[in-house]
């Protein structure tokens, strides 16, 4: 416990991020890269400050569509995952359909959503939902499908109904899978809503970047990108924290086994 008591591991993400921006800045200056190819971080920061009201408004819009789409994905994903894990019949019937559905690039669905709902918030929400719910379903169903047979035997021998086994064992057991999948799902939801905003919206970061591009305002395009990254990291961090809070036992018991 001497003077140099700095936790380098904790600091590392910040140091590396700062390093990236410094190298970026130096490269742009050293090679005199024109702004419309790659603006320097300082130039992007200027743009962020200059256009802050618009950036803030559009960031909130993207956050809103992502969150609503994500919540829908959680509700449906959890429900469908439990249904699939519950019944082999539902599993056998739905699984191929879901694989097929998941194989469709979601950007191809956006035009259809626009035909149905017009340009605006709804296609973005639905795209976020469609892209995010698959990993939730798969993870919840996996958690349910991997109940130890001995555990099931012990309970069934005591007269447990399928419902008891699900409530006492299956669902708690699939929670680490579920919360783990939320990190992936929120990132995907974000991708989905930005894709839809880029193609078919009149607000949101995706739309803002497209508009900036058509006006050759390259620093603003990059400002949008940076904001997307910041939002993405923030949402991921919230989900990671939630996972730790809700299913700490899974991590600790793995630690104990290791």
């Amino acid at each position: 416990m001497t003077t140099s008591n700095i936790n380098w591991i904790k600091l590392a993400p910040w140091l590396y991020t700062a390093g990236l921006f410094i190298v970026w800045e130096l490269v742009v200056r050293a090679f005199a890269i024109p702004q419309f190819i790659l603006p320097a971080p300082t130039r992007i920061l200027e743009a962020i400050i200059q256009f802050w009201p618009a950036i803030w408004k559009n960031s909130l819009q993207t956050l809103y569509t992502t969150t609503v789409g994500f919540i829908l994905a959680v509700v449906f994903g959890l429900g469908l995952g439990i249904a699939i894990g519950w019944s082999r019949f539902i599993y056998a019937g739905l699984y191929p359909l879901m694989i097929g559905f998941n194989a469709i690039p979601k950007v191809a669905v956006v035009p259809i959503l626009v035909i149905w709902f017009g340009i605006g918030t709804i296609p973005a929400v639905l795209t976020a939902f469609l892209i995010a719910f698959f990993p939730i379903v798969v993870n919840v169903a996996t958690g349910l499908a991997t109940i130890e047979p001995e555990m099931e035997d012990v309970l069934r021998a005591l007269g447990a109904k399928k419902m008891d086994i699900m409530l006492k064992v299956g669902i708690p057991r699939s929670m680490p899978y579920f919360f783990g999948s939320l990190k992936i799902a929120i990132t995907l939801a974000f991708v989905g809503s930005v894709i839809a905003e880029t193609v078919a919206a009149n607000s949101g970061l995706g739309h803002m970047m497209l508009a900036a591009q058509s006006q050759f305002n390259v620093p603003l395009v990059w400002a949008g990108l940076i904001m997307l990254a910041v939002e993405g990291i923030a949402m991921y961090a919230v989900m990671a924290w939630l996972e730790m809070r809700m299913t700490g036992w899974a991590h600790r018991s793995q630690l104990a086994q290791a």
Partner: protein, 263 residues
Amino acid sequence: MTQPLVTINDVDMRYGGADGLLAVEGLTLDIAKGEFAAVVGPSGCGKSTLMKLVTGLYIPQAGQVTVAGERVTKPVSIVGMAFQNPTMLPWRTTLDNILLPLEVVDRHRKRLRKHKVEYVAKAEKLLETVGLKGFGEKFPWQLSGGMQQRANLCRALIHEPDLLMLDEPFGALDSFTREELWCVIRDLHAAQGVTIVLVTHDLREAVFLADRIFVMSARPGRITKERTVPFARPRELELLYQADFNDVVHELRGNIADARKAA
């Protein structure tokens, strides 16, 4: 002669439909109330299948299984089970794991909330019996393998089953812990008058604990030999080093070798 607690009469059990794998064939045995029976036999001969037939997890295609005078057609909740793998739920404390059967068995689940204190006291007493006093608040992953297996026994006993089915419960433990748990089981059997069926690979374990040992043939499993163990109770670990004990173990080893060859 009182009526036996468990009767298995000419039972055939086939896995996976009409032309599936025949696991046991013409299986016949009975177990008296209060008896300690052990089942030994070559690997894959249908010992676990026998357990599952008695507990009503599987229903045989032919023959009858009767427990406590009733034909088994669905799971029988007067049975407690423990397997080699303790399968404690990691998100519950050891105490809550032990109370789990009470949340399932019909006659207890309705009383559980009101009489929680009484049940917790009972669980704690069981923990004390198996040498885990004060570990109830720990999570299973904070316990060693042997401690988890002790907790597993408590879970099998909490609803006061008349019949305790143990499927190689000590298989994964070191020999000291195993001998210690033999004594725990021996004392439980002596104190509570519960009927116990123990499946094991360890012949010394079978001879030390059981009143009667059933030897099964290789698949499809049948009882080829029934051996009464003559040693008086209470038995001490000393018995393991006596000549007549080893004679019985040798004799059984011979029987199993024959059973394997016969296949």
